[in-house]
């Protein structure tokens, strides 16, 4: 995956020079280790800043919403599925995009590494399958597969589903992944235990809305949480307000969430809010046979009626 950087710069340089696109959206190194940030390359000098490694977990589809220019965009498997969703939802036109596909082997979860580090991590060096974190007086090497983001370890669409260019040949998709073990463990609880489980899960939430902002699906001009006339949900940190926010946020992602993990990655207090969206994802798969963002020509289950749609819950 490390050899991608050069290829990405080559493609980006070529696209910009030929005038095929006005900018290329990718990643540049962040100011602290393991925190790559989105990069909008418009000049040859910008292109040289583009990088690729295991810290490119942000979902770049988020930066395409309502853009008018021609854009080259890097896309991992999940980004590409969110791009498809954007196209379906008229948030960008396919003709505006040159999609540069990046076969992905999973992104590293910085929290998993930071938890095992004795001091602040000041440097991270990556090899093909390992990653070494260094700080003052310590150095530790991890197998990448042990420190992947949870969603990446469960991913079955690592290769981009649409692309115009590819930076490398496709990677082998993971087989036989049990994607819904966590949903099942919640299903095994009583209603009281479930309520308590989510109460504890959400207790640290500070309502910063970083999860919402990182998500490519959340593009409404005014989010329901920010509206005040009418005010749909209380703005306090009372557990019922926090719960209402999370619950509605998740519902707005039903049949649209690609499990890209950008929300969890962005959360400053490490809440695993995918626990909500994964249930909806599983329901969409079980009830409608739907996997998000695989084909721009197919309408999502929540926006079409099919006679065989399950409706046993309506009395």
């Amino acid at each position: 995956m490390l050899s991608y950087t050069e290829k990405i710069r080559e493609i980006a340089g070529r696209l910009l020079q030929s005038g095929a696109v006005e900018m290329v959206i990718g990643f540049r190194a962040g100011t602290v280790p393991m925190m790559n940030e989105p990069h909008f390359a418009k000049t040859p000098a910008d292109v040289q800043k583009l990088v690729w490694d295991s810290h490119c977990g942000i979902n770049l589809a988020n930066y395409l919403t309502d853009r008018k220019e021609k854009i080259g965009v890097l896309a991992k498997g999940c980004d590409s599925r969110n791009i498809v969703t954007h196209i379906i939802e008229n948030k960008i036109k396919r003709e505006q995009l040159v999609i540069i596909g990046v076969p992905c082997k999973g992104m590293v979860d910085k929290r998993k590494i930071a938890m095992k580090a004795e001091t602040e991590i000041t440097e991270v060096i990556e090899a093909e399958t390992t990653i070494t974190a260094k700080g003052h007086g310590f150095s530790k090497t991890f197998e990448k597969k042990d420190v992947l983001q949870h969603n990446c370890s469960l991913c079955i669409h690592r290769n981009p589903v649409i692309h115009d260019e590819m930076v490398a040949p496709p990677v082998v998709e993971q087989q036989g992944v049990d994607r819904y073990a966590d949903v099942r463990s919640i299903a095994a609880m009583t209603p009281e235990q479930r309520w308590k489980y989510f109460e504890d899960l959400l207790a640290p939430c500070i309502r910063c809305y970083a999860c919402r902002n990182a998500c490519p699906l959340c593009y409404c001009p005014t989010c329901f949480v920010d509206e005040s006339r009418p005010q749909w949900v209380g703005k306090s940190l009372d557990p019922s307000d926090v719960r209402t926010f999370h619950f509605l946020r998740a519902y707005h992602c039903a049949g649209r969430c690609t499990d890209c993990g950008a929300c969890e990655r962005a959360c400053p207090v490490g809440i695993n809010m995918r626990t909500f969206t994964k249930k909806l994802e599983q329901d969409c798969l079980d009830l409608f046979g739907w996997e998000v963002g695989l084909d721009p020509e197919v309408r999502p289950p929540l926006d079409v009626y099919r006679p065989q749609d399950p409706n046993d819950f309506i009395k």
Partner: protein
Amino acid sequence: MEHMGIEPGRLQFSWISSAESTKFVEVVTQVTAAIKALGPNSNFAKKMAEVA
């Protein structure tokens, strides 16, 4: 809803045409009885602010 701990039966759905007044009455009676049996739901009730 049930995934995050709302009791089964707390939330109910019905499809009733404006012409089906009898069905409307039946459903309302049934739902009211079912919800009464579940008792009050305090999950979303806000507690008074705790002040020292």
